[in-house]
């Protein structure tokens, strides 16, 4: 077997071949950057995530520690000084005398954890099942898809309500409830994409090369099902955060001692009429900014990753 290449098959040379390797990620990143709004969203999300991670170090108060709260400091206006003069409540306090700024920073932590955590787990569960359904086909497929139908044929908020009523309140339970509600979206999306992708010739090529099945599934099929997954993933993070807020509002969210943004809003909401706007206004702004930023990013991702709009 000689590797001689005859002159009939010249080696194709392309000037500038070696300088830069355009990875799919890099290409995607540069397309993503084209929208300034989305870039802004990304920056805002990064800041928010940073704030949430650093909350214990930058917030003036540990809002979960009952020992440092004092109800005598309750419902103070923004900018007031605490009763013992130790801190200034820049965004005021809630009814427990909790510094709103600290509350919001920690609340972000919880909201983001719930949002990202539930989206991630739901994605793992849903994607695996969807992939399995698409690849295995037949009975496996129809069983999984019937469960998905069942799940989707049921209003999410009611399912979450039921689950939380059953499990009781805790961050974990909220995550579980949201996962139960949302995994089906991922499963359906992944299956849809995987069904298309698995008919593509590169999968056949991989089969022709007698590659092991798991390899085809996870190295060839899965990565190509990722774009829609990423898109709904980001959107679902935003949705999960909003859903958690709504559940908290309905009295079935996270525990009161570890308030998420939603719970802070729900708490302060009762004070809206009496003019103590800050208790729910600032958390509301934080929630809004977070969700809007995530949605902006998700939106651009949708455009960039949409094969039909790709140039």
């Amino acid at each position: 077997m000689s590797a001689v290449v005859g002159q009939g098959t010249p080696v194709v040379k392309d000037p500038g071949a070696k300088d830069k390797v355009e990875t799919p990620f890099r290409r995607f990143a540069s397309e993503f950057m084209e929208s300034r709004l989305a870039l802004g969203g990304l920056v805002v999300i990064s800041i928010i995530i940073l704030l949430a991670i650093l909350a214990p170090f930058i917030s003036p108060q540990d809002p979960y520690d009952l020992a440092v709260l004092d109800i005598m400091d309750g419902r103070m206006e923004p900018g007031s000084l605490s009763g013992d003069g130790s801190i200034t409540y820049w965004l005021g306090t809630d009814d427990q005398g909790r510094d709103m700024l600290s509350g919001i920073l920690y609340g972000l932590r919880i909201s983001l954890t719930v949002g990202a955590g539930s989206a991630f787990i739901a994605c793992m569960v849903g994607a695996s099942l969807g992939l399995a359904a698409a690849y295995a086909g037949g009975r496996t497929d129809s069983i999984i898809m019937r469960i998905v139908d069942l799940q989707l044929s049921f209003p999410s908020i009611l399912v979450a309500l039921m689950i939380l009523a059953f499990l009781g309140k805790s961050i974990t339970n909220v995550v579980i409830a949201i996962v139960v509600v949302e995994w089906a979206y991922y499963a359906r999306t992944v299956r849809g994409t995987a069904l298309v992708e698995r008919r593509r010739e590169y999968i056949e090529a991989a089969e022709c090369l007698a590659l092991p099945r798991y390899r085809i599934l996870f190295r060839h099929l899965l990565p190509n099902c990722l774009p829609p997954l990423i898109v709904i993933g980001t959107m679902q993070v935003a949705r999960a955060i909003a859903l958690e807020a709504t559940l908290s509002f309905l009295g079935l969210g996270v525990p009161i001692t570890e308030p998420s943004l939603g719970l802070l809003i729900a708490n302060g909401y009762e004070y809206m009429l009496s003019g103590k706007y800050w208790i729910s206004f600032y958390p509301g702004i934080a929630l809004l900014v977070t969700i809007v930023a995530i949605n902006l990013v998700g939106d651009q991702l949708r455009d960039v990753l949409n094969p039909r709009l790709q140039k």
């Binding site: 590797a3 290449v5 009939g8 098959t9 080696v11 590169y202 056949e204 991989a206």
Partner: protein, 344 residues
């Protein structure tokens, strides 16, 4: 390099490299409970069966290039996939070097499968867009132990060079290549597992004429260098004529004619082959009046009875409507499935 690939002669006695015996492939949409129930209640539902490939016999000898021609949906790709071992047949047997593929076990089965490779039509869809060229080409050899991590780079380089690609490109992704280059990557990928037999499914149909020539030349070069055998699927008669030793013509899942290339182009026997040859525009034919085959290609869902071609055949007679013609030898190396041959 002016070596001519003069048509070779083959003796019928040697074991063919690939042999299909009575191979069929059906795609059926099964009835579910509801449909069965509805049928019991008198609704007119039936299982929809596509006979993509219908009792095909085919032999490809070592070193031969067999062209497979036919119109869209006639089952060329399905047949190609069965030969390449990607798709199981519904009926019939496939032999690899005289051994029944279904009976092969373990390592032998895997090696047998690796020896038969496929090159695909769509240069864009046939490469995993999320893998680098080096991985696309080198993954299978690595997995199957044809190379090692240490020798990986050198191995990949060699495959790429052989397919006419600059190994400097190997860290790139498929989208950074043109169609012709992609097709070369696909070829390098197939060559990397040291195949003996290659199914080319419309491998040049999506390419520009000038690039098409490059790839066709590469195929011929490789054939000579590596002693490869090809099943060359195409709807472009010009390409098939140029490349193959023997041509097989399919119509709606069945082989209708099979003959050495010159014979097909000089003395086609089956009316379908004849009209096919007539419809093909030729660069040599200036300003001529196009002749036409009447009618549309029927749906493979409910093909016409008897000879599938009879509704479009200018010579059809009663028998064609009821009886399926068998593929019979009508001249040395030429077989055709037409009742006219009996009448004559």
């Amino acid at each position: 390099m002016q070596a001519t690939n003069a048509p070779r002669s083959f003796s019928d006695t040697e074991t063919p490299m690939v042999e299909l015996r009575g191979v069929s492939r059906r795609f059926a949409k099964k009835l579910d409970i509801a449909a069965k129930l509805a049928r019991r209640l008198g609704a007119s539902v039936r299982e929809e069966i596509v006979h993509a490939v219908d009792r095909v016999d085919l032999r490809v000898r070592k070193g031969e290039v067999v062209g497979l021609v036919g119109e869209s949906g006639c089952g060329k790709s399905t047949l190609g996939r069965i030969v390449a071992g990607i798709l199981p047949q519904s009926e019939g047997e496939v032999f690899w070097n005289g051994e029944n593929v279904a009976a092969m076990q373990g390592e032998a089965a895997k090696i047998g499968k690796l020896r038969r490779q496929m090159i695909f039509q769509d240069p864009y869809a046939s490469l995993n867009p999320r893998m680098r060229v080096a991985d696309i080409v080198g993954e299978a050899p690595l997995v199957h132990g044809l190379t090692t991590r240490g020798k990986f780079d050198g191995y990949v380089d060699e495959q790429m060079r052989r397919a006419g690609l600059d190994p400097a490109f190997k860290r790139r992704y498929p989208h950074q290549f043109s169609g012709g280059q992609r097709q070369r990557i696909g070829i390098a990928r197939a060559l990397a597992v040291a195949p003996e037999f290659i199914v080319c499914d419309e491998a040049v149909a999506a390419l520009d004429v000038s690039i098409q020539a490059q790839i066709l030349n590469l195929f011929m070069q490789l054939r000579k260098d590596l002693d490869l055998t090809y099943l060359f699927i195409s709807h472009d008669l010009g390409v098939v004529e140029h490349l193959s030793d023997r041509v097989v013509i399919m119509y709606l899942g069945r082989v209708v004619e099979e003959a050495p290339t010159e014979r097909v182009f000089a003395a086609a026997n089956h009316p379908y082959t004849q009209s096919l040859l007539n419809s093909v525009p030729r660069i040599g034919n200036r300003k001529r009046a196009f002749t036409t085959v009447k009618g549309e290609i029927p749906s493979p869902l409910n093909p016409p009875p008897g000879c599938h071609f009879h509704p479009r055949c200018p010579h059809a007679f009663e028998r064609c409507r009821v009886e399926v013609p068998v593929l019979r030898e009508i001249a040395p190396g030429q077989r055709s499935a037409c009742h006219l041959n009996d009448a004559a």
